[in-house]
Every structure is written in C-alpha cells, then in structure tokens.
Symmetry: C2
C-alpha cells in the first residue's frame, strides 16, 4: 500500500512561501499525515484547481443503536443524489447530519469538515464513499486541512490513499453512473422531521456542543439558534429575528425614540424604493454603495420601464425633499428620523446581525443653520448610542472620531462608538453619528436666506447659506455584539434590562414520592410569585411544564440566558424562601419570599452592573499603549487593540494595515477578510486623558510627529 | 367653419349602449357641444384608439400681470419638448401649471383637464397648441369629456374643430418637426423653485382652493399636501409619510401593540425577501397576489441567480417556519406579529394611503390547537381594530363577516370593520381579521400530536392534528379614511387623541401700537401655558413666530387640523382668560387661565367625542334597509349603503354588482373601477338586531330565501 501512497504524493500540489520539508517527506501513515498537515502553512492557490464537496449523512437508525454516519466526497459541481447513494450503500433515509452528530463523530463543524477530518482515532465511527470520477479526473482539489481556515491542494487519488491509511470503511463508486434523482421533495420545507426528531430524542445534544473559545463561529451559530434568537432563512444573507432577539431591539427603540423626541426629532417614513436618478446624484457617496444595491426590475410578469433600487441608506432619497421643505431659516433645525430596514446586497460571507443583506436600523437626518448646532447634535446622538451599549446592553464602548480613511463617504467627519469582542480580539463599529457638513446641501441645493443678510446680499446667492447636515444610524448589529461578548459555553447571557424574561421560576424537588397537595402548593407558589413580581413591572415566567424535569428546565433557560432563576421546592415553602441563581456567575442566594419585591429588582440591577463591569474590565485590559512598531503586531496578536501616538496620515494607515496582516486567529469566522486581516484605525478616542501628553511622540510606523493617540485593531 | 365641423364629426367614434341621439345631431357651436357632452353615457371602447396627453404650462410672467397658460395637446407617446414648444410660441420658462392655476383657468384638476375643458367662457384666459401629427394621423383618441370619469373617442381633427369654435387662440404645429430636447435639467429635482415661489407669492393660494363636495379628488390631494401629511415621491405609487401623518401611525402602533401584548402576542421580524419557491407554495393564495409582486433580479451589476420577491404579505413566508417551530401542542398558541411594510405593485391609479405600492402595516399570524381559541382571537383582534377606528380616529365602523366572494384567498372566513366616506358615499374596508382554518396548516404540514391521542393512534397520521391559524392586518390606510371623513374646506380636522399637536397657542391683538412690554407679556404667557399643559401630558405648541400675523397662523393651523386653538391677547391677560376655538365646529369659548389644566383636556375629549358622534350619525343615516330591487340602485345612488335580506349566493352577488353598475358619482376618484362601479357586499354585520327577523324575507335580487341582513355598497 505504501507504494500507492508514494505515487499519490507525487500529485500533491501544495504551494507556499514557507519551508515545507514536511510535505515532501514520505508520508506513509496517518500519524505522519497528521504531522504533515499540522505543519502546513497557508497555501497559495495553484493555477488551476477544483473545489471538493464533503457531505456527512446520517442513515435511519433504530433508537437503541448508535448511528454510523456516511461521509460522501465528490466534486463540488456533482449533483449528489442522496436516494441513489442510499440505495448503493443499502442505507435508508439519508439525512444531512446535524451539527451535534458531526461534532461527536469528527470533532468538526459543517464548514470545517473534510476528508482529513477522518483519523485513525475516529475511523471506526463512520464510513466513507468517494466519487471515483474525482479520482479518475486527475484534477487537483482544494481541501480543508483540518479547519476551514487552512487549505491544501491534492488529487482525488491522494485523498483515497490518505483515507485508506486511516482504516475507515471506504467505498468508491463513479457518481456519474448513478441514476437521475428521484422527484425532489416539496421545496423549502426547512426542517425535515427526521432532524427535529433527532434533536428531541437526544436531549443532551440540545445544549451548545462546542466551546466558545475553541470554535467561536460554530458557537455563535449554535447560541443564536439554540438560544432562540433567530432562525436561518432560505434567502441567503437574510435571517428571521425571533421574539427573543426582537425584544432587545424593541427595548433599544423605546429608549432611543424617547430620547430623540426630547430634543425635537420627529419620525417619518420615506419609501423603500429609489429611482436610479436620485440614487446616483451624489457620486462619491453612491460609489461606496453601488455594488451592493438591489434592483427591482419586474412586477408580476411585466418589466418595469425603469428599474428601481431598494434603499441602501437614505441620504439621496431624502435630501431632494429637504431642498423643497427648507425655504427659510425658520424651517431649521429640521430633524427627522425613521425606523426602517435597508438592503445592502453584500457578497461577502454573511454573519447573523453583523453582516446581513437586509437589516433593521434607525436613520436620523437633520439640517441646521450653523455648524455649532450640528456639531452639538452629532455628539449628543453619539452619547445616546453609548448609553444604548452601556446602560441597556451592558457593553463598554470607546467613543471617538474616525480617521479620514474610515469616515462616511461624502461626509465631513464621522464619530463612532467602538466595541470589542474578547474571544476574537476584534473590534466592532457600534454606531456612527456623522457630521455631513455642507457637502450634501451644496449637491442638493438646500439653502436658506442668511438671517444676517444685508440689503445688498439679500436675494442674491451670496446672501444664502447652505445648511449644515448630520446623519446617524444604529442597527440590529447591536444584538450580535451583545451575544458575542456576554454569551458563554452554556448559551446566551442576557442583560436584565433587555431580556424578554428577566426571572424564571422553576418548581423543584417534586419527585414521585411527594404528595400531590405539596406539588400543587409549590406550583401555586411559583405562579403567585410570578404574578406578584409581574405586577411590579418585572418580566417573569413560571415554568410549570409537567413533562420536563428541573434539570432540563435549568438548561433550557440557561441556553436562552434568562438573568435570574428562582427555584422553589417543598423545603423552600417551609422556610418561606427561594433559591436565586444568577445566570452570569452561577452564584446562588437564598431569598426570603416576603421581600422578593425588593430583593429581585436589586439583584437584577446588580447583574446588569456586574455584566458591564466585567466586560469593561476585559476591554480595558486589552487596550494597550504601544509606541514602537516592533510591539505593534505582537500586541495585536494577543487579541488586543493598540493605542499608538499617530500621525493621522492616510498613507500611513494603509501601511499599518499591510504590515500587520497575517493569518487570522485560529477559530476565526469564515470570512475572506480573515486570512489577511490587517489592523485599521478604529477611532481617535475623544478621551485622550488616560494617555501621556502627545507632544514629542512620533508615529511608530512612519516616524512623523504624532497628532493624537489613536486606537487600532482588527475588526468586524 | 361649420362645414369642417360636420366633416370632423363624421369621424366621431363613440360607442355606447344607451341611446345617443345627441351625439349624431349636428354640433356646430360650443354650446351644442356642451349639451352633447353632458348627455354622454359611459362610452365603451372602440376596437382601436390612442391616448391623448393634455398639458397646461405657465410661462414666465411679470408679477404685475396675470399669467396666460398654454394648453398643449398631443399623443400620449409623444415626447413634449418644453423648451422647443416655448421657443416656438416665444414664451419663456414654461412650467407645468400648479393645481391652483389650472383650477382658476379651467375649473379642472390635472387629471380632469382635456381639450373639452376649454369653453367659450374661459377661452380668453389661455391659448392652445395642438400637435398637427395627431390630426394627420387620423387616429381615434380617447379624451375626457369634462371629467376623468367620462371618456369620448374622437379624432384630432374633431378636437381642432371643437377648439376653433370656442375662439380660444389656437396654434397647430407638427411636434415631429421640433428639435431634439435640450439636455434635461438635473433629474428628480422634485420642486422647481418656480412652483414653490409661486405658492409663497400668492399667499391666499396656500389654503385649500377647491370645495370638498365639488372636487373631492383634488380636495383630497390638496388637504394631504397642504396639511403636511405627505409629499409626492418620484417613484409612482409611493408617498412620503411626513411626521404629521406618521405620528397618527405611531399612536395606532402604541395602542395596538400594548393590547396584543396583553394577550401574549410577541413581535418578530421576517425578511422582506421571499424565494419564488416559497412564494408560490399555496396556489389559491398566491393567485391573488402574483400580478402585483415586485421582483429583485439584480444586485449591483450582477444578475441574481434566482430572482427574489418582495413580500406582498407573509403567510407563505412564515408558515414553513411555523411547521418547524411547532412540534408539540405545548408550543401552542404561537402568536407572532410584525410591524413592517409590504409591496403590492398595483397598476391601478394609486391613491395616497388608500392604494399605494408600498404600505406600512402590522400583520399578525397565529396558530392554535382548537378552532374555538382561534375564533375567539379573530373576534378579539377585530374588536381592537374597531377601537382603533372609534376611540383613536373618531370613525364609526360596522364589524361583520365577509361574503364567500370577498373573503381572504385561501382562508376559511374573513371578519372586517367597514368604514364609510360620506362625500362619495363609498365604503372602505378598514381592517381584516381572518380565520384561516386548517388550509395553510395542511399545505405547510403544521401538525402536533393530539393530546387526546389513544395508544392506537399515537405516532400515526390519525393521531396528529393540523393547527388552526389566523392572520390579521391593519395598515396606514386608516389615516386616509380619517382625512377623508373629518376634513373640511379649510383643511384637515384631526381627532385630538392622534394629533401630534393638540393645542396651539396664538398671541393676538399685538398691533404696532401695543407697547413692547405688553407684547412680551402676552408671548410669555403663551409660552408658559404651553409648558404648563405639556407637563400635564398634553401636546401643545406656542406659535410665537413674529413674521406672521394671527390670521395667517389661524389658517395655517386650521389647514393642519389642530383640534384646539387658544388665543391670548392683552385683554385676555387682564381678564386672566383665553379664547378657545374648536377646529371641528369653530365654536369659541372663554376659558379661565387658572383652570386650563382641567378645562383644556375636557374640551379635547369633548371634541374627540363630538367628532365621532357626528361621523357616526352620518354613517347611520346612510345605511338604508331595502327589500325591493327597484329601490336598490336609486338608494345606492344617494350615497347610501343598502342593507338587504340576502341569499348569500355568489352568483347573486355578481348579479347585484352588474345590475347596480353605472357611471360613478361626479367628482369621484380617477379610478378605472369608477366608471362601471357596481355595488358589492361589504359585510354581513354581526349585529343583526337593528333589523327585522330575517324569516320570511327573500333576496330582492334573486327571490331566494334570505339568510342574513347584508350591507352592500360601492367601495374603495
């Protein structure tokens, strides 16, 4: 057999810049492969190659038996006819394996899984079927080497050789010989019953099956779905916001809407459609959005005379009307806001909440007579965004101003609140408040007569002022940041102020031997407490389901991140107390039933405060002042943001990005930005007081005099 | 000349079913034309005809002079090059005439205007230019005969003959000879300054220029725009909801959202995009929507692999996920709602709020274990819709059930609240709450195990239950009905509970002779009262603009329909009182300043109640019981709804519609439904108690035994 492996190896086509001795050494055992693979650097692409498809199916299995999944390996473009494959292997009802099964069998996620996931250790847990056509084609294939972030290039023959060495039960057959697929099942049935049934049968798999720190992308997906925040949707890049996440958005809306109304902002609604003429009015601005604009070209069966766009943002939609509505300085300030959705048809890898093709947001658009008023508003709104993060979501942010390179296209300057995801060390833009200056008002001719115009200038162009404009927006991205920062290996951790359920009551200690009247009293007490606390404005749920035991309920509510659990059992009734368990820390406290109305709200506020304090300390600990270039990238690589005395020149920012680029952190999102991600400037913090006086400092990258301390980092 | 007219008349191509002697008689004077036109019945269409375009322009005119507009008549498909026309006529800066000018010159609206709007009486006020190409083509043209609801079919030569007889200054020229258009002005500048300037220069034109009862469509447009409810938009069928109207929607949202949360409904958000597979899942249902579905086929410059639709409603979007989420009867009831916008690309004439291509609404979608629970919810939600109309918008509605013909496609039954617009006598569907039965749950396989399943049926199809579903929706159409019913010749009349400003304070009696300190005190008092009442939760504005006199301000706020005006002058200060003027009735009351905190809220509540009472009495007076067919259409024609003892058979409903069709009421909306609009069943009122026992009654149309008293009417 080792002859054939050596032959196969000659077809290896790995290209990389690093030394790769290991790859050329004879590899004649899985262990040697292991070490060869682990030594692999990021591979450059060969001139020509094809993509591989690795599918893992679960056959129908008696409940008493452990399922033996089948890995099917073929060319990505090959239609894999599940029914025919099943018939060939004599297996019934093949279904794509659920993530839990994938993980249990191969320790891999759907995205990572590859033939190299099979090892001598797990080879007994599954069987493999390789498409002989792949082998026969002699083509080079791109294959994940253990995780999706690393890729090697091999032939089908090499793969077969590798798999043989693991001793996994291996079949090959030419997929081209398979019959045409049977008629497809009704389309878009999102959840085959088999899948759902599997989940329920294996209740221990309902929890999160991966560790947050080891497989963050998979953890994020699981925590969102199992925590009931969202569901996946059959249009790519779009997600369903379920009530559990939408409630968070409603809390943000209520707070922010009340606050902007206090300063005279009014809500309105502009149509979602934009004519191409209007969209393309401001060239600099639209350049940034054009590749992502979705176009409606048909209605029913008719082609529209002129296609219409769906708004990616509303500057050019609204400002022609501002020109019309603003006729006098008495019409100023004009402050409008809308709660709507916008569409940016990104072609990058989508991420729930962080990068989606449609997202919910608010967009404020205001016009002022003087720059001072406009500037004041920009900062006031940014302050509200900061409060949304800090006071509602218990997330620390750094407010500051964007560099010229990173500011809003077409605006004068951009202020931002910048968040931080500790697990990946990446920053995330939390919300932006833009001073647009007079750029748009010149473009759209939004002018008023200068109240100070003289008799000579009145009525003439020089007697007119272009208004000063702002725009500002905050989106459902907020929710994604909250999940990423607070969640843990058990699931979501919800800040009490935005949790749809703040307190869950779970009756405990009601085993079969407990008399019915005691059970009834315990259940009734739970219901009574829920009602009593609800009447005090708390959001409380009593989980009185009789078909689940307390342990299941604990897991269930922990998965969803309910901040506080109150356990009540027969002994608690005797002592007139309840056991309170914090979701964030797991700490238990005995509370007297008599004083729940005060102790529970206090405890919730403590949780809210502690969650913020913890996240704040973590962010703070990862903001490192760096003054020499040598320390820059290493500091970054330790999941830090770096604060440098910066020259604020755009060319230097490009240099910093290039020079700090490297393979992204292991376990990072599948994102084409990741493999070469460099640091960019996140913001110039308004608060420069924590840092030494800037005078005398030079930019560590280019050596020019520094202007302000600036925060750099890798970011989403 | 009369020879040429007789010749021209021979080309008349009017087809109608009614006797039309008048049309064949010699018509050799405008007066004779007048009578011929007025005798015209609704014309059926000839086999082949073209559409006419009638544009009225205002040339640049010295302020001291009365403008002489130019009517340009050409084929609808002809590009009318304004610059070339102006050059030909030696006129500068032709702009489309504002509605006010159109009305003053021709007594017509933009939609009604036609060559027949020119009469011997108004011929001296304008000039006309006819496209010779139209005459040369010998084509038959469809032309409005005075109003848009009546159409005649004539040749270009006939039009020229008619116009000559009116002695209007008449030019003809071949438009095909005009030069290519000069480069267009920047596109989509929505308000040429000339237009806006014209309005401001002629301040008396700021008010509504037509009477509600004489030109309802024009009145509706003016009251919406001048009352600041909305603005027109450059994508046809879409409108901008300005804060003044959006606030009404926010009031409705707040009320309804609070109420549905009380019964356990949760909000969520599904994507606006739908794949074609999913959209087309339920055939009966989608058939009703398919012709109006907007399709996104491109993103940036790339064609999408599969076009995606924008949701017209969300049944088929949501229910595949319901099938997935509902696994057990413990997951029921599932009650979700979303506040969003939907798109129905109607090709009918759009009407702000009533028929728009995108509109805002809420859509609730719920699933229940038993029919009884579903039915109970249908009625509860309908009750909330009734409260929105009656308690917030001061509008009476009749709740009832739709006929089989009028129910929601794919549902089991539809309940509705039906409103009434007195000016037109037309009904309007206010909101619908559908019992979907098990139709969708069968289609989407939404089942649970019957909690009463026996050992034999458990786990088998016969042991599973299909859930009972409802859907219910209320849209921004509500706002249109409110405007149509309450508005008057002075503008909007806003119900206090939904008015963004409930009370406006206007300082009065501050002529030039009044000392400054008195002026200051009056202004300060107004400001203080506003602040004081605001602190009590009222929405109050003090109009302290110093560049407008009180008369202007009165008109301004009356136009916007502010329910209560408080006038405060020097004499009021002395007597420590204010004059309160009600918008709805104009009634004035002296109020003591001391007790404003109680008298003003009371007065607002009185206004709210009185507005409802008045509208309710009007609707009630126009619901007529009719038991003989002879009385049916005449009663309808008197702007009534008719209540008949009905057989409830679909064929009979078709008959009623056909037999009651006639030329729509004069002054009706421009709507292709109008010319032949027959009555349809609006609802079978739940409350049958006002009517005699149904037994023994027969359907007046078909003579079959009647089942229930049913409300018929013409409707929007």
């Amino acid at each position: 057999m080792s002859d054939s492996i050596l032959a196969a190896l000659s077809s290896l086509s790995i290209q990389a810049e690093e030394p790769r001795a290991a790859l050329h050494a004879p590899v004649n055992s899985p262990a040697a492969w292991e070490s060869a693979l682990s030594a692999l650097p990021a591979s450059a692409k060969p001139a020509s190659y094809r993509m591989i498809k690795t599918l893992v199916f679960k056959p129908k299995t008696a409940k008493s038996e452990t399922p033996v999944p089948v890995m099917v390996v073929t060319d990505e473009s090959t239609q894999s006819n599940t029914a025919a494959i099943g018939a060939h292997l004599k297996l019934k009802e093949l279904r794509l394996a659920v993530p839990e099964l994938l993980h249990a069998t191969l320790g891999a996620t759907k995205d990572d899984v590859s033939p190299f996931s099979v090892t001598t250790d797990n080879a007994s847990k599954l069987r493999v079927l390789v498409d002989q056509d792949m082998v026969d084609s002699n083509a080079t294939y791109a294959v994940h080497a253990r995780s999706a972030s690393e890729t090697v290039f091999v032939t089908g023959a090499t793969l077969v050789a590798y798999l043989s060495e693991t001793h996994v039960p291996l079949d090959t057959m030419a997929f081209s010989s398979l019959q045409a697929p049977a008629p497809a099942a009704p389309a878009a049935k999102p959840a085959p019953k088999a899948k759902v049934d599997a989940k329920i049968a294996d209740a221990e798999l309902i929890g999160i099956t991966v560790r947050k720190d080891l497989d963050f992308p998979e953890w994020y997906q699981q925590v969102l779905r199992k925590g009931d925040m969202l569901d996946y949707y059959d249009v790519s890049g779009c997600y369903i916001l379920k009530p559990w996440s939408y409630f968070v958005w409603e809390c943000i809306q209520r707070f922010f809407d009340d606050e902007i109304k206090k300063i005279g902002v009014q809500n309105c609604y502009f149509p979602m459609f934009v004519s191409s003429d209007v969209l393309e009015r401001e060239k600099d601005h639209i350049e940034g959005f054009a590749p992502e604009v979705a176009w409606v070209t048909k209605a029913g069966k008719s082609d529209l005379e002129k296609p219409v766009a769906i708004r990616p943002t509303s500057e050019t939609v609204m400002y022609p009307y501002y020109a019309k509505w603003i006729q006098s300085h008495r019409d100023l300030p004009l402050r409008l806001n809308q709660w709507n959705s916008v569409v940016r048809w990104e072609f990058k890898h989508p991420q729930p909440f962080l990068r989606t093709r449609e997202f919910l947001w608010q967009e404020g658009h205001t016009a002022h007579l003087h720059k001072e008023q406009a500037d004041e508003e920009v900062r006031h709104i940014l302050g509200l965004y900061q409060r949304v993060y800090e006071e509602l979501l218990a997330l620390p942010v750094v407010p500051g101003i964007k560099s010229e390179k990173e500011k809003f296209a077409g605006g004068l300057y951009t202020t931002t609140v910048e968040g931080y995801v500790p697990t990946t060390g990446r920053g995330i833009q939390g919300g932006t408040s833009h001073g647009l200056g007079q750029n748009f008002s010149r473009m759209f001719d939004i002018t008023v007569q200068d109240p100070k115009a003289t008799d000579e200038t009145r009525g003439k162009p020089e007697g007119r002022l272009h208004v000063w404009q702002n725009s500002w927006g905050l989106s459902t991205r907020t929710i994604g940041v909250m999940v990423m920062v607070h969640g843990d290996d058990k699931g979501l951790v919800m800040p009490p102020r935005v949790s749809q359920i703040q307190v869950v009551l779970v009756p405990c200690g009601l085993g079969v031997k407990v008399p019915q009247d005691v059970k009834d009293r315990v259940n009734k007490t739970c219901g009574d407490i829920a009602e009593q606390l609800s009447s005090r404005g708390l959001r409380v749920h009593a989980d009185l389901r009789d078909n689940y035991n307390p342990g299941f309920k604990f897991n269930d509510w922990e998965l969803r991140g309910v901040p506080l659990r109150l356990e009540v059992g027969p002994k608690d009734l005797e002592s007139q107390s309840a056991m309170a368990v914090r979701r964030d820390t797991g700490v238990k406290t005995q509370l007297s039933l008599e004083s729940l109305e005060t102790s529970v709200p206090e405890l919730l506020e403590t949780i809210q405060r502690d969650m913020f304090t913890k996240a704040e300390a973590e962010f703070r600990a990862h903001r490192k002042v760096v003054t020499s270039w040598d320390a820059f990238t290493p500091t970054l690589n330790e999941k830090n943001h770096v604060i440098i005395p910066w020259c604020e020149e755009e060319a230097c920012e490009d240099q910093i990005k290039d020079r700090s680029a490297r393979i992204a952190l292991a376990g990072e999102a599948q994102d084409e930005r990741a493999p070469s991600m460099g640091a960019k400037s996140l913001c110039i913090p308004f608060d420069q007081s924590p840092y030494p006086a800037i005078e005398g400092h030079v930019c560590p990258q280019c050596g020019k005099p520094a202007k302000r301390w600036t925060m750099f980092g890798r970011s989403y």
